[in-house]
């Protein structure tokens, strides 16, 4: 099963991370920015699991970190979408350039 060197996993997760960063920089729509953040969090999860499985298999720490990151990402996505929908109700836009006041 370890016929693949660990660095290939890490390259894949790094590439996924910077794809997410690219999307976060270029997109101006809040929902698409949130999608880029999900890609970034997922690449971090892959890293945790790979380090756990191939370098320190005697413990399960990376696996648990990934589980907790997934739970936190779910909470974060729910709150972010609640805020985005509320912003749409008050401002009729979800573009970050137009959301430039703290309170209506």
């Amino acid at each position: 099963m370890t016929s693949i060197p660990i660095i290939h996993f890490l390259i894949v997760s790094t590439a996924l991370f910077f794809i997410g960063v690219y999307g976060f920089f270029t997109r101006r729509n809040m929902i698409t920015m949130l999608m880029s953040i999900e890609l970034i969090l997922n690449s971090v999860n892959i890293n945790f699991v790979v380090f756990n499985k191939y370098l320190h298999p005697e413990s399960n720490d990376g696996l648990f970190f990934s589980l907790f990151i997934i739970a936190i990402a779910a909470a974060e996505a729910a709150v972010a979408i609640a805020i985005i929908i509320n912003l749409y109700r008050t401002h009729s836009t979800i573009d970050v350039e137009d959301a430039n006041e703290m309170k209506l």
């Binding site: 660095i7 729509n29 892959i46 298999p57 997934i70």
Partner: protein, 172 residues
Amino acid sequence: MMDASVISFYAISAFLLVFGFMAVTARKIFRSAIWLLFSLIGIASLYFWMDLQFLAAVQIIVYIGGIVVLIIFSIFLTQHSGADLPKALRSRKIAAGFLSLLGFGVIAGILSKTLFVETLTPMDVDMKTIGKKMLSLGGDGYALPFELVSVLLLAAMIGCIVIAVKKVPEKS
């Protein structure tokens, strides 16, 4: 030399990277959400490839069944479906692409110079072990973060309700 497991690893990696890139560049927001869904399925299959069935199941349930569905619902609520997203500025695209490639290059360079000592010991990913560790109070247990995440989820739920029931002020 190239057995099926090696080929499937590279196939899965290519799949998730290609769909991830399409998710951040698609012009139609709904398609972008669907490409994100495919990319997350690719990550779940990578976990299956690594024999981490529980994590793969959590990935499918929470990300694909929860977050992507939530994103699709919010797209329905806030966007005119079928309309193209406004094009990103060319200068911003170039700067973002340059910075991302630069960051990727730096990290890949550091990784290629680092020596990783891989072990062949199999990891204990039995469901029983995970369940026991998750609620164990001992030195290698995760009872405290487990409770913290429970409180966090409760707080997020209350926060969402508070934001949702807020009255929209009348536009003058």
